[in-house]
Amino acid sequence: MRIEYCIGVDLGSTTTKAVILGADHAVLGRGITNSRSNYVVASQVAMGEALINTRFTRIRNQLGHAGVGPARCDQLLGSFERRFREQQYLCQLATLESTLHGYADRTRQDPAVHRALDAIVARMRSESAGLFAEGAARKSDFFRDLAGSRFHELSEQQKEARFDVLAGLFDKSILDVENSTEAVGTFSEHARAALQAQGTHAPELARAVDAAFGDELVQVQVVGTGYGRQKLPFPEKSIRSEILCHGLGAHAMYPHTRTVLDIGGQDTKAIQVDEQGIVTSFQMNDRCAAGCGRYLGYIADEMNLGLHELGPLAGQATRQVRINSTCTVFAGAELRERLSLGERREDILAGLHRAIVLRAMSLLARSGGVHEQFTFTGGVARNSEAVKALRKLVQENYGERTLNISTESIYTGALGAALFAWRAAERADVPEEVKA
């Protein structure tokens, strides 16, 4: 089957997101990766992931057509996807392994270092099934984080080679792995392997996967947005401001949206949109990234926690410590200062979340206030404690407002970009004289 699609890419400072929309503007696939130093690779990987996700959507549809019930469908696809991800992980691990040895050779390391690397990678390979087992908790979905944390733990236990040597080799190698679009592999490679690993007891899945293989995915238009948009290998007319993309994306998710708050990695945007999703006014933080997602990132690092663990921990607070500064650079100092004064981690975190939201409230006020309905997007919208603080402050300052937060809110900018892509494509179909 021939499927035409448009794709939107949002190159953020922390993550790069891609959304694929079919001709009916329905979401076919989403992809996300960490924004490495190479934006071109980040956008290719995110687009590749979105295409893989599109195939999964197609498999789900095929299963539906074949009469497979939703529960069975979830079970089959869930298990298939875990195996698929495991294959992807193993593929990247193989690239990592050869890259590690390559650097070890170039820096003339002892044979003991090579033996240590072999042992570590062999152990990581043997653990991969457990890492992607049903119900297994993973700190992150990005290879850098998954492989990095385990590699470092295993390096510390190594007797044959020094930790700093191994860690140094990893730091060099992971950049190469991340910056290679081949390391992550393709749908066809991993899907076949995942099917094999799944066994033959799911013929309906095998048929659906085969059907999905047969789809011809045809890209009609691409639009890029986000901080790295100038670096995207797209023509200038295919690049849109992230403020407009977030406005339109939020409108697409919640058509009654009038105010959008986006807290991303390095900026916070307060946007007002009209009934068509057109931006009427916006405010964003100035050159200082105080109180943005990156601030939470530093705090998580300081506490040796995963980013997604901060919110739940803050949720256990019994009181809120008053924090005035949300300076990202001083985040660690602020935290240690409070800890040394004997404050509990949970209470400090609750205060930090409130401080971030207070800063966002100021931008919202400057942009024209909070109107019904209010949509919260960006990575920080995934943080339960930030949402709690926002809900409370909006209620106190503006009264009752419907607060929309999509589980897919991180994709809002990319969704808006994909919609702009369709608009451009649809306009391009119109003869010149009609356009004028």
Partner: protein, 430 residues
């Protein structure tokens, strides 16, 4: 070998003339210790240039020196030096730039040394920083200070009592001090002659700025505008040089208008005017060209700006009036842009958006200047409400390069212009 005569044809004659005027002025200043010319340091808003000239006193404008230092890439070091001397990061960066320059030999923008002041003339008190600035300079130079207290137009108008109050100070404080410093008696007829010349140049300046009502606009009234206001806002108001400069400039601009040409930018002539905007607030000086280029890249022309009114709001009809010499100076001091109350500023911006057929208006909020920045968000909302055109907000600073984030400003500008575009294509906001 290129013919110098033909090479000059490509440069506007008025530009050459302005450059020559400025060089001569700074040369006169550098020679002042030898020629015995007396010098007064003073500020642009509410400057009393005609009165100074009546006593043959030469003006030095520290703000202009600071912005020139910013444009020449010197301000970073000057500010660092001032901070080393104890001035906080939060102090207005014009002040710190000036203090740093003073402690680095006081070399002006043309490379010649500036003279020490014989008098510090503070003729606008609407900016509290000006007072503190002159306190610093008074300590440095140990010279007399004279202050003209200028009432704020809190009710949006100048009353008789306000005018009398300022005229009284001119008579009792400022003129006697100038007589003392210069050793010359006050000659009101001479002042009238200067004022008559001022009015002539002012009329031509208004014609230049209002040429931007034309489509396409032959000028950029912000980035280009700062060059046009240069002579009249600084040392040349009331001079024959100023009359000739503005006559020439007006003719050039009107010629461009007749020929349907767009403004001249650092990259050459802007051929396709895509957006027309009004700008409130001073420009950033340290990245002036880069900032301008961001507008040029989008095809945006600034058709009116409030910054070009800081040294006089002439387009509301005000002209220096030789028939009422001291009263007219009093009205001038009280009428400068930052002395207007917020409702008047809102009305002025709204009028600009409408009369200049602007697609919207932008505020460049500078960290240093409370006189400008206080109330700008209210202004933004209010002008949006009155005109139905979208407002944009960017933040930078005057001369501290640390407060100019190119990527952040570019991001906001691009978003702003795309927002206008989106409104146009959807038929909204028109």
């Amino acid at each position: 070998m290129s013919n110098p005569a033909t090479a000059q044809i490509h440069k506007d004659a008025s530009q050459e003339r302005q450059k020559r005027m400025i060089a001569e002025h700074f040369h006169r200043l550098a020679q002042a210790p030898d020629t015995g010319h007396k010098c007064a340091y003073t500020f642009v808003p509410g400057n009393l240039t005609e009165l100074l000239r009546t006593f043959d006193v030469l003006p030095v404008l520290p703000e202009i020196n600071a912005l020139q230092s910013g444009m020449r890439g010197r301000s970073r070091d000057y500010i660092a030096l001032a901070e080393k001397l104890g001035h906080s990061e939060d102090v207005c960066t014009y002040v710190k730039c000036d203090v740093g320059m003073l402690h680095s030999g006081n070399v002006g923008p043309t490379g010649e040394r500036l003279p020490r002041p014989d008098l510090l003339l503070l003729s606008y008190t609407g900016c509290f920083t000006f007072m503190k600035w002159f306190e610093i300079l008074a300590q440095e130079y140990e010279c007399p200070v004279v202050m003209l207290h200028v009432p704020y137009q809190g009710d949006g108008r100048i009353t008789d009592a306000m005018r009398r109050y300022v005229v009284d100070q001119l008579r009792r404080k400022v003129i006697p001090m100038l007589e003392k410093v210069s050793g010359k008696a006050y000659d009101e007829d001479l002042l009238r002659q200067h004022l008559a010349r001022s009015a002539q140049a002012e009329t031509d300046l208004v014609a230049v700025l209002e040429a931007a009502k034309h489509r396409p606009s032959p000028i950029d009234a912000y980035f280009g505008g700062v060059y046009y206001i240069g002579p009249i806002f600084t040392a040349f108001r009331g001079t024959q040089d100023a009359i000739e400069y503005y006559r020439e400039l007006r003719a050039e601009v009107e010629e461009r208008m007749r020929a349907g040409k767009g403004p001249v930018t650092p990259e050459g002539e802007l051929e396709h005017e895509k957006y027309r905007v009004v700008v409130e607030g001073p420009p950033n000086w340290t990245s002036f060209r880069q900032f301008w280029q961001m507008f040029v890249d989008e095809g945006a022309v600034v058709v009116a700006s409030t910054y070009t009114k800081v040294g006089g709001v002439y387009d509301n009809g005000f002209r220096h009036d030789p028939a009422r010499p001291l009263e007219t100076l009093a009205e001038y001091c009280m009428g400068c842009y930052t002395n207007l109350d917020l409702p008047t500023r809102v009305a002025m911006l709204s009028r600009y958006v409408q009369e200049y057929s602007a697609d919207g208006f932008l505020i460049n909020s500078v960290k240093s200047c409370n006189s400008f920045s206080a109330g700008q968000l209210m202004i933004l909302r209010e002008v949006e409400k009155r005109t139905g055109r979208p407002g944009g907000f960017i933040e930078s600073d005057l001369v501290d390069p640390r407060y100019f984030s190119a990527s952040n400003i570019k991001n906001r500008l691009e978003s702003y212009f795309q927002m206008i575009e989106q409104k146009r294509s959807s038929g909204a906001g028109t």
